[in-house]
Symmetry: C2
Subunit: 191 residues, 2 copies
Amino acid sequence: MPKIGMEPQRRAALVQATIGEIGAAGSLQVTVGQIARRAGVSSALAHHYFGGKAQILSAAMRHILSEYSAEVRAALAAAKTPQDRLRAIIAANFAESCFEADVISAWLNFYVLAQRDPEAGRLLRIYQGRLRSNLTHALRVHMARPEPAAEVLGALIDGMYLRAALGGAGFEQGAAEQVMACADALIRGQT
Amino acid sequence: MPKIGMEPQRRAALVQATIGEIGAAGSLQVTVGQIARRAGVSSALAHHYFGGKAQILSAAMRHILSEYSAEVRAALAAAKTPQDRLRAIIAANFAESCFEADVISAWLNFYVLAQRDPEAGRLLRIYQGRLRSNLTHALRVHMARPEPAAEVLGALIDGMYLRAALGGAGFEQGAAEQVMACADALIRGQT
DNA sequence: CCTTTGATTGACTGGTCAGTCAATAAAAAC
DNA sequence: GTTTTTATTGACTGACCAGTCAATCAAAGG
């Protein structure tokens, strides 16, 4: 019973399924067949809409990054005072929609993909650039030379993701607080 | 002309070739054939000595981790004063033998492997545990409650590796200095 | 109606790769 | 000098998988 206008739904389902499969497998070596099955369609349809596995992966990556962007933008908009902005950014980075097993695993795998696929590298560099810029702005209220601290906090957030990917225990909130504590120390201990 | 006692040499060459291939490909999807060719032997011989691809990967991982351990141990032994220890550990983490394109790439890929292979996860957790322990000890000279700072510095070092894996510019020495600056700030700004 | 268009699939293909095995050859041991 | 051990490989196989294609089905448009 082919209904019309399926494309957007199928695309979304496939993207979601891709993240789920990557998370479950802990690897980019998921077959188009697995992804398609999880999305409830045939692998041929996945190829039909996306063209190839590379495009499916790319779409999944864009989805994660855009969801992340939305989270940060919302947090920034909700920040009452300039001082709030720093905490808002850090909290957004560990919000549920981003800091979740499947997403973290996919995100880690995208770093690997970036070593091979220039497009993936470009996307990741854009993400890093935005994070740096956001942190720099937020830190400027607190310190004269915010750049080094922004760099450190950006790397620290990535490091927390990496450790979360390794599994371990209840990072979920601890991570955000540790990053905030580090931010406080950087502000207080500025040279 | 089969000489005797080749096994150790072949194993070492294959391990080295594995790291090289992973670094070149930016992925664990390197074939046993590629690894073997780089090591100058047939893929059958690689299977003969290691049993399978999983064991080759595991051996490469152990090699990187043990080289890393040696670097840290040497740095710690060379530290004159207790205050030196912290800088020594951080410097060792960014020493040439560890902080090199191929090795970083392989190390990142091992984090991915750890999501699927419990043995890889175990090894990585041992590495993290040692780093935490070393940092905690070194920080105790400077602060009453070193644990949170050690946690943060460990994650920060991992984050720096992750960013180095993404390529970018001359991290090589900048990274170490940024981590040291962060350590100073944590010590100075302790609550 | 009938035809165009979008949705959807099963079946097929060409290529790749981990792992096996029997064979060869040289050193070592007896 | 024969046997054992170690080193080494080419050739094979069984599985898996991305991508293709022709066919089917139903809604929409005329």
